[in-house]
């Protein structure tokens, strides 16, 4: 395969990471917490799509809509039950609770759907396209296009709407936001809703491109997307996009040109080097410590 082919595959994988990383980075920016359960929301979304399409026989678009709706509700519920009571507690306590939620979702899926790996039917029914020597699968095209659309919508939403501005305000300074009459709890719930809805979309794209599904499907992509969010500068939305794409490209290039077994190690090594050189990520803001 040619360099260009690898680049396209990398951007496609990176787009999935970017969509997942958006969820991490928005939640981090606003609630200052690492939502470890985010990867498992992806898995839940993928199972919902699997059930609606393969078991019930609805068209793919219905599956995606149902999954987005259910994951949005799931995200809000998780926030309400597990994270909201911990507002003001130490960040480590929230982290461990998030890990608990992650275990809960995995084991719930294990009980409901069983431990066996399911083969996921792609939601994309067209392609592949041949362009010169390049092969672009339908999944690749849909993934890249959805990532771009999501980025545009999200950026517009945050910059142009009141709710989006409220999000920015809360992430900047929670106390001041309250004084300006912003409902912080509602804003945080909205963030979780958007993040989880995006996770469902990411789940459908991920499982279409890599068509296996098990209760642990979400955890490794979740960790990598989190890495991507940190890589780009956590809390920054363009950062999540840049970090996700770069991570995907590095992973595919590492697999292709260095060693397929070592690709994960290469991804993390690049991350470490970037963070050591620029400790707040590529597009992150550097906050000065005050006495």
């Amino acid at each position: 395969m040619s360099f260009l082919q690898y680049l396209i595959n990398g951007i496609s994988l990176g787009s999935i990471y970017a969509i997942i990383a958006l969820g991490y980075t928005m939640v981090y920016g606003i609630a200052k917490m690492l939502n470890f359960a985010h990867g498992d929301v992806i898995m839940v979304g993928a199972y919902v799509i699997f059930t609606t399409i393969s078991t019930m026989g609805y068209p793919p678009i219905v599956g995606v809509i149902v999954a987005v709706a259910l994951c949005t509700v799931l995200g809000i519920t998780i926030e309400r039950i597990a994270y909201k009571p911990l507002r003001g507690a130490s960040s480590l306590a929230v982290l461990i609770t998030a890990i608990g939620v992650s275990y809960f979702l995995q084991n719930m899926a294990l009980i409901v759907f069983g431990a066996d790996t399911k083969s996921f039917n792609s939601i994309v029914k067209f392609g592949p396209f041949h362009l010169g020597g390049l092969v672009i699968s339908g999944e690749t095209l849909v993934t890249i296009v959805s990532c771009i659309i999501i980025m545009i919508i999200l950026t517009t939403f945050i910059n142009k709407t009141k709710a989006g501005q409220a999000m920015l305000a809360v992430s900047e300074d929670k106390g001041a936001a309250v004084l300006m009459g912003i409902n912080v709890n509602q804003t945080i719930a909205l963030t979780f809703a958007i993040g989880s809805g995006l996770a469902a979309i990411a789940g459908s794209l991920l499982c279409s491109a890599y068509p296996t599904l098990s209760p642990y499907t979400g955890s490794m992509p979740g960790i990598k997307a989190f890495t991507a969010a940190v890589f780009g500068g956590i809390g920054s939305i363009p950062g999540a996009f840049v970090g996700g794409i770069l991570l995907g490209v590095i992973e595919i290039f590492g697999k292709a040109y260095i060693s397929s077994q070592l690709s994960d190690a290469i991804v993390f090594a690049v991350l470490i080097i970037v963070l050591i050189v620029k400790p707040s990520g590529i597009l992150g803001k550097n906050r000065q410590e005050k006495v």
Binding site: A82, L86, G88, A89, A93, M220, A269, I272, P279, E289
Partner: protein, 362 residues
């Protein structure tokens, strides 16, 4: 009388002694249970892992609780220790035949290697803070695990051969034996780990950690945790003390890894034993046991390791990990949620006011 006074006034020493006593009592109880034969084979199989997890929890508490830095790569250091120790034992299997001697040397080597890696990794990454440090340590843990999975080491009469491709690339003579087989890891490590050795190692770990905490160095480390800028301004060498705590923590994790390796026939590096899952599990022990509380780490590790097994024995095999997750969430909410803390304080206040007052005490 003098002795009593000493115990009465030195609160820290008394606390440490309670911790040692707890471990020794647990050891005696287990020995009695073993002697009377009232222990199931399942429980017997858990004895060494319990020691391993307790050591890991205590060592991680040194980083998280005492140094105040979040590390998600602790299992990586355990992995280094495990493979170093198992490799050594496998090499000298025919030379040193006394089990306890072999594992003792393996533990020293394994923890030295893990400590060295802790030092090397700590030097660049301890500049980072909070979540960034967490993700970088997680990354290092994953790198260690991935690299161990592709390493092949063999030995023939010409010495050691090394490759990261395959068994064939080792270019050994026909007498050569492969010791580390990439993803298949190390097989046939002598099973030298016993409960007694585990408990001794746990006591040594406690001795090192508790003495460090109660020393001048330990106070410097805690000063950095509480306020880095203030600590720096009174002349504490931040880098030196951070590195010290981090490397000691890594070395102790390495020793736990050696113990772990000598309890298994086949040692492989997978996500569940040396990946971030394991690192997170250890962190859960530490947080539930109480951050910075060494005794709590041991109790947390023991309870959380036994809990899934206990649920298994209640015929809840399907549900056990689900219940584990729910317990984890509920305990965290109960322990840390501000509203719950207020509620608990109210309850204790009511209970205290109803209890008859003891005269003179406190």
């Amino acid at each position: 009388m003098k002795l009593r006074n000493k115990f009465k006034f030195d609160k820290r020493a008394r606390q440490s002694l309670i911790t040692y006593a707890m471990v020794i009592i647990a050891f005696v109880v287990v020995q009695i249970l073993l002697a009377t034969g009232s222990m199931t084979s399942l429980m017997k199989g858990l004895l060494v892992p319990l020691c391993v997890y307790a050591i890991l929890a205590v060592s991680l508490n040194l980083t998280v609780g005492i140094l105040g830095e979040l590390s998600l790569g602790h299992a990586g250091f355990m992995c280094i220790g495990a493979f170093t120790g198992a490799f050594f034992s496998k090499c000298v299997q025919d030379v040193i035949t006394i089990g306890w001697l072999r594992i003792s040397i393996a533990i020293i080597l394994g923890s030295a290697m893990a400590g060295l890696f802790g030092f090397l990794i700590g030097m660049p990454v301890l500049r980072l803070k909070g979540d960034y440090l967490a993700i970088v340590t997680l990354g290092f843990g994953e790198i260690i695990k991935t690299v161990v999975n592709v390493v092949y080491i063999g030995r023939d009469e010409n010495g050691f051969h090394f490759s990261i491709k395959s068994n064939m690339d080792l270019n050994m003579t026909e007498n050569g034996k492969t010791i580390v087989k990439g993803a298949q890891g190390i097989t046939g490590t002598p099973k030298d780990a016993t409960f007694t050795i585990g408990i001794i190692l746990l006591l040594v770990t406690l001795f090192i950690v508790l003495n460090l905490i109660n020393s001048r160095d330990g106070r410097a480390i805690m000063a950095i945790r509480d306020n880095r800028i203030a600590a720096e301004s009174v002349g504490i060498n931040i880098t030196k003390y951070k590195l010290m705590a981090f490397s000691i923590s890594a070395a102790l994790a390495g020793s736990a890894g050696v113990l772990y390796a000598h309890n298994l026939n086949t040692l492989t590096a997978s996500t569940n034993n040396f990946g971030y899952n394991m690192s997170i599990n250890i962190l859960v022990f530490v947080v539930l046991g109480g951050i910075g509380n060494i005794r709590g780490s041991i109790i947390g590790a023991v309870i959380l390791t036994l809990l899934p097994e206990l649920l298994r024995s209640f015929n809840l095999d399907n549900l056990r990990m689900l219940i584990y997750a729910i317990i984890l969430i509920v305990v965290m909410l109960f322990n840390s949620a501000p509203s719950f803390i207020q509620f608990r304080e109210k309850v204790t206040a009511v209970v205290k006011s109803k209890l008859p007052k003891k005269g003179g005490v406190n």
